[in-house]
């Protein structure tokens, strides 16, 4: 009998699943957003501002932004793990990616609740 030794950090399945769930959330938001934009045409400043003044739009957009950065983190980390071989450089780029992601999210919240 061969006993298989499982190694690794065990974050693979969780991240794989998170990437797919966030993808579905973004897909639904995107389709709704396109229809909303077509409905409210022509878009003037007042129409645009009123759209983002509504609570549901802010919360939906925040859910989209959180999904996006989570999804992007898994994707960018996969790209870095595949192509960047020196450990130090890869770690540096991953930390940089996380900082960018945190900034994107903070900025999104600031834009939505100004």
């Amino acid at each position: 009998m061969v006993s298989r030794v499982v190694t690794g950090a065990h974050y693979g399945l969780r991240d794989w699943l998170a990437q797919r769930i966030t993808a579905v959330i973004m897909a639904v938001y995107s389709v709704i957003a396109v229809f909303v934009l077509i409905l409210i045409e022509p878009i003037t400043y007042v129409v645009w501002r009123d759209l983002f003044d509504q609570g549901w739009m802010r919360v939906a957009t925040l859910l989209f932004a959180v999904s996006l950065v989570w999804h992007a983190w898994v994707g960018v980390r996969d790209i870095l793990m595949d192509y960047i071989k020196p450990d130090g450089l890869r770690l540096g780029l991953q930390v940089g990616t996380l900082l960018v992601i945190a900034s994107y999210l903070g900025w999104s919240i600031q834009i939505l609740w100004r």
Partner: protein
């Protein structure tokens, strides 16, 4: 196994590592491979462009004057062209992503179907880009 046999096994050529260079210049990609690498490229492009898109959203919601400025800015041809590229990236990532969700559910994994859905994803993403681009301008 003798020590010599172990050493021979260690020297045996290993499967080729899929470097970016190999993907771009050495391996002729089938359409399913193109969908895959374009999914990566479009995702990376959208991630790095997010700072620009957020800046435009920020400006457009800050005041009426800033909104008009951004509207004018978005009408300049280099900006329009860049936005069109990003719209394509989003549409491609969207269509190829839906295809991957079905593949994850074991739907359409035989070669003929996988190739057909790849062409459909490519075609639909270009059609959506054209439609959204036309709608915007």
């Amino acid at each position: 196994m003798s020590e010599a046999a172990v050493k021979t096994a260690a020297r045996r050529p290993r499967p080729k590592y899929l470097s970016l260079q190999a993907l771009l210049f050495e391996i002729r990609l089938p359409v399913t491979g193109w969908i895959s690498i374009l999914h990566r490229i479009s995702g990376a492009l959208l991630f790095v462009s997010m700072v620009w898109l957020l800046w435009m959203l920020d400006r457009s919601l800050s005041s009426e004057a800033a909104f008009e400025k951004i509207k004018h800015y978005a009408g300049l041809w280099p900006v329009k062209l860049s936005l069109l590229v990003l719209i394509w990236a989003y549409c491609h990532h969207f269509c190829a992503g839906i295809r991957y969700l079905f593949l994850d559910l074991d739907k359409g994994i035989d070669l003929a179907t996988a190739r057909l859905t790849s062409w459909i994803a490519l075609g639909v993403s270009f059609a959506l880009t054209a439609a959204l681009g036309w709608k915007l301008w």
